[in-house]
Amino acid sequence: MRHYELLIILKPTLTEEEVKAKVDFVKEVLEKNQAQIASLQDLGMRKLGYEIDKHQRGHYFVFYYKAPPSSIAEIERIMRITEEILRFLTVKYENKKEIKQWEILSTKGKIEPQKPEKIEQKEEKETQTEGEKAQG
């Protein structure tokens, strides 16, 4: 068993139930592949640093889990073919120092989701830039 982290970005267009269903789906995939999930963190809706499939925002989730290295290929294969997942990232925590960090990160999620007010402000700006693009 090794220590891993899986970050997924879900499409911003999903409803609350769809988001929950997808997160449960990923959970199931991990568990089916002998993963022990230590923690699941919802980082909330965030503005993306760049557009992915025409989406400006995405809903971030992070899983911290332990799994045998042989499971990773299968987990990543399923992440890749799941349409609602815009992007995923697996991080391996290998040496003692990294595993210590994994333990800290998986027990207390330091990152707080963005405040809803700020997202609203950003939405306005997004529509502005879109309008500019259409003009040009």
Partner: protein
């Protein structure tokens, strides 16, 4: 530029803050090493030590992959500064 003062101080901010690990999701830690155009700044400008430079480079590359920060900022697509919220 307002950044100029930062260049004259030559010490590692990460050593000063006693950072042992840099998480790619913690954007406030990556900020010191990124330029206004989200490029990784060289050590000679930031004063980072080699150990921390390597750590922060890896974290920045992961943060780019996870779309927390852009790879490039070009003139046509004006991207909102994700650090803005942190600076306020």
């Amino acid at each position: 530029m307002s950044n100029k003062r930062r260049y004259t101080k030559k010490y590692c901010k990460y050593c000063e803050a006693k950072i042992t690990m840099i998480d790619y999701k913690d954007l406030s830690l990556l900020k010191h090493t990124l330029s206004e155009r989200y490029k990784i700044m060289p050590r000679r400008l930031t004063g980072n030590c080699k150990k921390h430079q390597e750590m922060v480079e890896k974290a920045i590359k992961r943060a780019r992959q996870a779309a927390f920060i852009p790879y490039i900022v070009d003139r046509k697509k004006v991207i909102d500064n994700p650090f803005k919220a942190l600076e306020e």
